[in-house]
């Protein structure tokens, strides 16, 4: 059975693009459109991986990631932050929040996402 990814992304267009990338490598994707919803989904039904946007309504991705990593029910789930904020401060904020990777949303984002899924053992090489 395919592994499930929880995608937390408020933009429906971007969520659809990322979902298609993840499904193209055989993963199932659930989508949450804001931080609190993402946290509830992750706790209620822990996925194999969480792909998390930074700019989210109500609670940003850094806060969501910190809460996921503090909760024993979700702390071991790998988190990849996928974001438009690519600067040094944002990168370090994401990694210090506990993200396993921090990938800017640029033309290479899909490739980097798949590379990281392989690196984390979510996908086979």
């Amino acid at each position: 059975m395919a592994l499930e990814v929880l995608l937390v992304e408020d933009s429906k267009t971007q969520a659809q693009q990322i979902k298609e990338t993840l499904e193209s490598v055989g993963l199932r994707v659930r989508i949450a459109y804001d931080g609190p919803d993402g946290l509830r989904e992750a706790i209620a039904n822990p996925p194999a991986l969480i792909v998390l946007d930074v700019k989210l309504p109500t609670m940003d991705g850094f806060q969501v990631c910190r809460r996921l990593k503090r909760n024993p029910a979700t702390q071991d789930i790998p988190v990849i932050m996928l974001t438009e904020k690519a600067g040094p401060k944002a990168t370090m904020s994401g990694l210090r929040a506990g993200a396993d990777d921090y990938i800017p949303k640029d033309i290479f984002a899909s490739e980097h996402l798949i590379d990281t899924l392989q690196e984390l053992g979510i996908l086979e090489d």
């Binding site: 600067g87 921090y102 800017p104 640029d106 290479f108 690196e119």
Partner: protein
């Protein structure tokens, strides 16, 4: 195109990206992630190195001149690391201390070492060393 320089012995990977406009920043980031992956850095550390390289490329691009970002493996005794470097001729005559303070304040969290080699032309060098927690 300039050649990479380092205070350390260099080893593969040896990569370089010519940066002429803002699109090339993405290529710098991508190439850095790949170079860091070849050396065995974890995804999180690849992200740090990619951010450092992209920030250096952006800084240099703001001077209005095309330049080359070099990515090289480096060896120091038993240590292996990834070096990111770029020639910065406009820094000739500028206080090295001031440059290093500015660079460390912007990128000091991303890499282990930030150096300014003066001769024959100024080169900014940033290095992250590989260790067990970074693989």
């Amino acid at each position: 195109m300039s050649e990479a320089r380092s205070p350390y012995k260099m080893r593969p990977p040896v990569m370089q990206v010519r940066v002429e406009d803002s699109m090339d920043i993405m290529i710098v980031r991508d190439t850095t992630r790949r170079a860091a992956g070849l050396l065995g850095f974890s995804p999180a550390h690849r992200a740090q190195l990619a951010s450092a390289a992209a920030t250096l490329a952006e800084l240099v691009l703001k001077t209005g001149e095309a330049h080359t970002v070099h990515l090289n493996g480096v060896i120091d005794g038993a240590r292996t690391g990834l070096q990111i470097s770029s020639e910065t001729p406009w820094l000739a005559g500028v206080s090295a201390n001031n440059v290093l303070i500015a660079l460390k304040s912007k990128m000091g969290d991303l890499v282990d070492d930030i150096l300014l080699e003066r001769e024959p032309a100024p080169v900014i060098i940033m290095i992250m060393w590989l260790n067990e927690t970074r693989e």
